[in-house]
Point group: C2
Chain length 324, copies 2
DNA sequence: CTGAAAGCGCTTACAG
DNA sequence: CTGAAAGCGCTTACAG
């Protein structure tokens, strides 16, 4: 059925060793012989079995990726960055989610122990951190893509949340806004604290409502403050979804954006261009974060030492109509 | 380093054969012996090497998935459906894209020939169809998730594009709209023809502008017709992105939606709830399409025969404010 | 009920 | 420059 190295060897009238050598470019092989072997390989359409190669070499040339959910709006970009990088290096990508809780984690660690992957890329490990730490201590290369907490034990890729918050504040300040409302994400997340600190370092405010990254939290926060008659001339929401909620509440209340109140989000997901008005937001370099993390992991698998300190990729303020 | 079946056998004082048997539940094994082996497996934390198992059994317990791009708004849902199903069956998922053109396809076919996957899930094969056909003829199980053309050679999962178009028309008709504009996707796609036919079967119109699924095409179509003074009281756009473009053009022109002109999209991507006004749209069951395709492939890998005829999953009209 | 041995398709010392 | 042989970690007839 399948064409094997033995078939090639037989037809080319050499040993399997020799075929293996021309395949991997290792060891000296006579020019004429090598040419003949190559010709036979092409003619027979021989492709080495990845399973057998992996077993013999003790590595699978595959990296695993563990994500909390694939349906999040920015996950596609991260994934695309990872896949591009991994494919270019001729590695495979094995994808796992942990949205079925403990069972998923179980299955996932199993596959890892089974040696199905040479290394791991993990996005925001939620309840997996102890397992991951064990695997990492056991020698499995791991790189985190994570803003939510600090895990000094692992190499990681993050973005400039503090500076991102600060850039939003500078932009609003330059536009003459002095009384901003901040709608945060879950206060337990490191990125949330950083975005808030950065913002306040430029534009101090005590008008802070703790949200949870949903549309509803942005909407409710604005509705309540308006109902209470609280004054504010800008909203900085910690993600675009809750910024969209704020926009909706302002529109419903008849408060023009940006003339009356300016709105700035965070992430720059595809939706941000399509809100009314289009959303000014702090762009996370999601694709580049994926690429960078993958590159770090591949470097590590290639024998390089990767930095202990988190690699920090810059955010970028994207100015649209909600805060010109 | 790694715990092998030989270690387990030695410690449990049995042969590797016996360990293999309790591992796979094949053949008779004495109760006491089995219990002892199981205890040793647990104590040593033994996990069979997936590479070795695959080599010995001639299958990898992994399915491949080939997608044109991971950044498309509905791809995350498809992927999530696939991953959930595949994980539940204890298979791995190897992810490939073909967004680097011929090179990607090359790499991809290579991995397939290398036996890295037992079967394949393919989303909208663009320039890959000949390669795929060759692989399929060669015995590789493949299931397509594809609306764009008809490929009777492969098992596939599609949605009710014709009925989806018809449902949009019925909804508009019931609301008293009689003069609709249709902004299509690329006319070469089968789904586009179906959506158009279904729509016109209920609400005949010759006001059809061929677009390309971009925001710009929806915006331009509306701008031009308005500039030309053409009368219409509704827009049916073939995807949500171009519907968003239509909304923008109508807003810019001061034509109220839905009072003056109603707008219906297609897909129900996350953005659809956040446009102004929120978009009425024909929902594609993307997640279920992923689940269904994965299930068909797994069934096929399990030895079942899968239907030749495409499996058709129903669309659902989601009514929001743009066309109440 | 259990085991010795061959085989899956490669790579890699080792020897010449 | 080239090859015979062992080994990677499993499964599976075959034999008892």
């Amino acid at each position: 059925m399948r064409v094997t190295i033995a078939d090639v060897a037989r037809v080319a009238d050499v040993s399997k060793t020799t075929v293996s050598r021309v395949l991997n470019g290792k060891g000296e092989v006579g020019g004429v012989t090598a040419a003949r072997v190559r010709e036979v390989i092409a003619r027979l359409g021989y492709v080495p079995s990845s399973g057998a190669v992996g077993l013999a070499r003790g590595s699978s040339r595959t990296v695993g990726m563990l994500v909390p959910s694939l349906a999040w709006p920015w996950m596609g970009e991260v994934l695309q960055g990872v896949v591009d990088t991994v494919e270019a290096a001729d590695y495979g990508l094995l994808l796992f989610t942990c949205n079925r809780g403990a069972e998923s984690v179980e299955r996932f660690t199993g596959q890892v122990s089974a040696g199905a992957v040479d290394g791991l890329l993990v996005v925001e490990p939620e309840n997996t951190l102890d397992r991951l730490t064990a695997l990492y201590r056991g020698g499995l290369p791991i790189v985190l893509i994570d803003d939510r907490g600090q895990h000094p034990a692992f190499p990681s890729v993050v973005t400039t949340n503090r500076e991102g918050g600060a850039s939003a504040a500078r932009h609003l300040l330059a536009a003459g806004r002095t009384r901003p409302l901040v709608v945060t994400g879950p206060p337990a997340f490191g990125c949330v604290r950083d975005r808030l600190d950065g913002f306040r370092s430029v534009l101090p405010t005590d008008l802070v409502v703790h949200g949870d990254f949903t549309e509803g939290c942005g909407r409710l926060a604005v509705e309540r403050l308006l109902a209470a008659g609280t004054e504010f001339d800008a909203v900085f929401a910690h993600n675009d979804i809750s910024a969209a909620g704020a926009l909706r509440a302002l529109r419903a209340a008849g408060r023009p954006v940006p003339d009356d109140i300016a709105v700035v989000g965070f992430d720059d997901i595809p939706m941000a261009e399509h809100t009314e008005p289009p959303l000014t937001t702090v762009r996370q370099p999601t694709r580049r974060m994926g690429e960078t993390a993958a590159r770090m992991l591949l470097d590590r698998l290639g024998g390089a030492t990767v930095p202990d300190a988190p690699v920090v990729l810059p955010t970028e303020l994207v100015v649209r109509h909600s805060a010109p």
